[in-house]
Symmetry: C2
Subunit: 146 residues, 2 copies
DNA sequence: TTCCTAAATTAGAATTATTCTAAATTCAGA
DNA sequence: TCTGAATTTAGAATAATTCTAATTTAGGAA
């Protein structure tokens, strides 16, 4: 019988194809990892994680290439939190971020959780988009696969 | 006769001392450059700019050291705009940023220009601070020393 | 199926940004 | 002036990312 919802691998395949990318094992495992986590990993962390999942290992160059390809295609987004670190996020919906100052962990904040900001800053700037970064302490531990 | 306002070099000296730092020519020229511009330069741009102003040249290591020292002392702040680039800002008041998507230039947005965001995100997060990054097109050219 | 070509992947070299090291200089205070 | 600590320095070392050039993979004719 057909599953009620698409399986994970079907989701991955669909997402790649929806963004005009061919499906390859390397792309699947990188995107699949990012879709499975809400931890906003950097390239090195993606490399570590997918090296476990992909039997025959994956080249670090491919991790960088694939992340850049996924970003260019719009399948994932880059997140600038701390200076000097590029993190990646499979959540491509508009949303904000909360950074725990003790742990450095980045949490997603749904767009609707933040009241809309007025869409004008006087006459000098035309606003197309905005993003709020909150800083503080996460009170509940939200566990998720690393 | 005494000037009505402190001169620039007096400002620089006062800022260094107010943050517990000794006054040196290198620190003065780095901080002075950052106080004179609103362009949020990165380390390389600071190095280029101060190399011109400081006759006998300044070591690039000193620029990095000095920027880190100034950040640690709270005399300047780091700004994370694009992923992978650390920029520096002598404006240490709470404020927001506007990034021109065409030019990449970062403009300061006064804290009061943005209506206050509610200080709660449910029960999971304790908010200590927040920062809004706007994206769009700057309409007026605001000129300032490079 | 076999062949062909383009795309994707790879290892390692190259580049770039930043930090580290160890020596030289500067500086404040005794 | 002397002295020790702080600062600055050049260049080496490290780390992150990109580039290069060769190899593998994969889909579409024939
Ligand atoms: Mn990128
Ligand atoms: Mn720093
Ligand atoms: Zn996110
Ligand atoms: Zn600023």
């Amino acid at each position: 019988m057909n599953p009620v919802r698409p399986t994970k691998t079907e989701n991955i395949r669909e997402t790649l194809e929806a963004h005009g990318l061919k499906v390859t094992p390397q792309r699947s495992v990188v995107l699949g990892y990012l879709m499975s986590t809400d931890r906003h990993p950097n390239a090195e962390e993606v490399f570590q994680a997918v090296s476990l999942h992909l039997a025959g290992a994956i080249s670090k160059a491919t991790v960088y290439n694939t992340l850049n390809t996924l970003v260019a295609a719009g399948a994932i987004v880059e997140v600038s939190a701390e200076p000097g670190v590029t993190r990646y996020d499979a959540n491509i919906e508009s949303h904000h971020h909360f950074i725990d100052r003790e742990t450095g962990r980045i949490y997603d904040i749904p767009w609707e959780s933040v009241e809309p900001l007025c869409q004008t800053l006087g006459t000098d700037f035309s606003i197309q988009d905005y993003h709020v970064t909150f800083y503080g302490k996460a009170l509940k531990h939200e566990h998720s696969p690393p």
